[in-house]
Symmetry: C2
Subunit: 212 residues, 2 copies
């Protein structure tokens, strides 16, 4: 075993962030990250499986916090309330929106990193689905609610890191959940929040003809 | 250019399916697929970028059919109606449920293929989101509806290929969409389709305390 290095994962992550941003992800080696953090390659690989994983630090903690929060929601709460509570609680794991924004920009710039991100999100959806099944939801409903919850997470995250007035994470989760409720509650002829207009009777009839 | 081979993509795909199923995806080479289809490696690479792509044949047609159908839905229809019409129409691109089931089993057995599948689905969600923006939806709502639509697609697909009585694709899309509407319309105290019970008043109060 190597000697203990104080906060090695944090130092490696910060060094990686800086090198990935300056030189690009592809042009950065593990040796360079370790050197820049004043650590060895061996120490790097004790904490991260590869060059990609360093950007997904905290993912396990995010998942655990989300799942624990969903498990803690009383059974009388609705599915969406449970998912909302989980997403809000998991936000405590995020660093500042500025750091998350840098991370997302790095991921967006590299297909390999995007793939890893998608795999992580799929795995997160599976864990959330299990938590919802523990609440007594049937398989299909649990899977659907979990996938939808992850869609809400992604969109709330984008809004949170791009919010010029930096409203809290919880506010963005609530807003996107409200948007989801609005979209799914829409009825023909009152699409996009517009009131029924005089012409909508014919339009609805046309829609019915097409949509069966 | 090589000579024209009748239905080369179909023959290569069938050969690949059989070899992937018999020997496993990792153990199969492009040379073996081509030989088994009575074609050359060069012909393989004229139709598919790599060993993975052969399993995603038809993906572009699926996307185009989905987007065209969404574009054709009258403006008076709701977002969910438009997405539903798109998903139902795109089902015409699927081969038999048996073939799709074999394909999904192959993908599920291999992390590389899962990654490619997730990338394809993310790209499909982006195209669907663009189609919804063309209908006048704001960015966030369009992205959320598109991601949710892809979640519905995935779950409807699983149900369709596992349905012992082989009900049509359209039925499964409708059922999963109805489930989505049900989940998002739930109110506290009537979770999981249960009627309010005598104890639900206190349970709701507890839920409110936790959920804020």
């Amino acid at each position: 075993m190597g000697r203990w290095e104080p906060n090695a994962p944090g130092r490696l992550q910060q060094a990686a962030f800086e090198l990935y941003t300056e030189r690009g992800y592809d042009q950065t080696t593990v040796a360079e990250i370790a050197a820049s953090a004043g650590l060895t390659e061996r120490t790097f690989f004790r904490h991260f499986a590869d060059k990609r994983e360093v950007l997904f630090e905290g993912g396990d903690r995010f998942r655990a916090t989300l799942v624990d929060a969903v498990d803690a929601v009383p059974p009388s709460a609705t599915t969406l309330e449970a998912v909302t509570a989980g997403l809000k609680a998991a936000g405590s794991v995020f660093p500042t929106p500025q750091l998350v924004r840098r991370r997302q920009a790095l991921i967006l710039a590299n297909p390999e990193l995007q793939e890893r991100e998608l795999i992580k999100l799929a795995s997160l959806a599976a864990s959330l689905g299990e938590a919802l099944r523990r609440r007594g939801m049937p398989d299909t409903a649990a899977e659907l609610a979990a996938e939808t919850g992850v869609a809400v997470l992604r969109i709330a995250l984008t809004r949170w890191i791009e919010d010029p007035v930096e409203r809290p994470w919880e506010v963005h989760v609530s807003e996107v959940m409200d948007e989801l409720r609005r979209i799914t509650a829409e009825r023909s002829g009152v699409a996009h929040g517009l009131k029924r207009s005089m012409g909508s009777g014919r339009a609805r009839a046309e829609a019915s003809a097409v949509l069966g």
